[in-house]
Symmetry: C2
Subunit: 97 residues, 2 copies
């Protein structure tokens, strides 16, 4: 299992719409083969910051399967304009447990 | 539920010892009232970078319960020397799901 993680900084005043559109976008990512689960959490210390965590069966399920899909076009359309700066997305594999 | 998240950058050449000591340190954090679960994952794009995710019942279980505990003294003793720079720790609350 692979964890995709990104810290998201949302433009001032746009968090409410971002959260609404994230719910809509969630229907697209969850259709992808190899998708396991995802969560969005909002930072208590900085209310325009979020952490996105997506669990995939393999790295390629994200980097190839999702990013080359029709669903990714919808995901981008709904979400990419909210971010400033554009987020760094990284992948992780479990050490513990 | 509160998610504690931190990106950890480990000093060059010290990842193997860090992972060993993290396993030992895990026994301390998991004793704290309000602790739910934690995971350590290693970055695929940067093999000296890790993400630490800890789930707590409340913010105070971490900021007061753990940080003022005897167990935190052991956690620090085992782990704090591995980091450069010292990590920023933030807390998050769920938006989705």
């Amino acid at each position: 299992m692979i964890l995709e993680a990104a810290m998201l900084q949302v433009k001032p005043g746009r968090t409410e719409n971002f959260e609404r559109d994230f719910r809509e976008a969630s229907a697209y990512i969850s259709q992808i083969p190899g998708y396991i689960q995802h969560e969005l959490q909002r930072c208590i210390e900085d209310d325009h910051k979020y952490i996105l965590l997506v669990r995939w069966e393999t790295l390629e399920a994200h980097t190839e399967g999702f990013r080359q899909s029709e669903q990714y076009i919808e995901w981008k359309r709904l979400l990419h304009d909210y971010y400033d700066p554009f987020p760094v997305v990284e992948h992780f594999s479990a050490v513990y447990p």
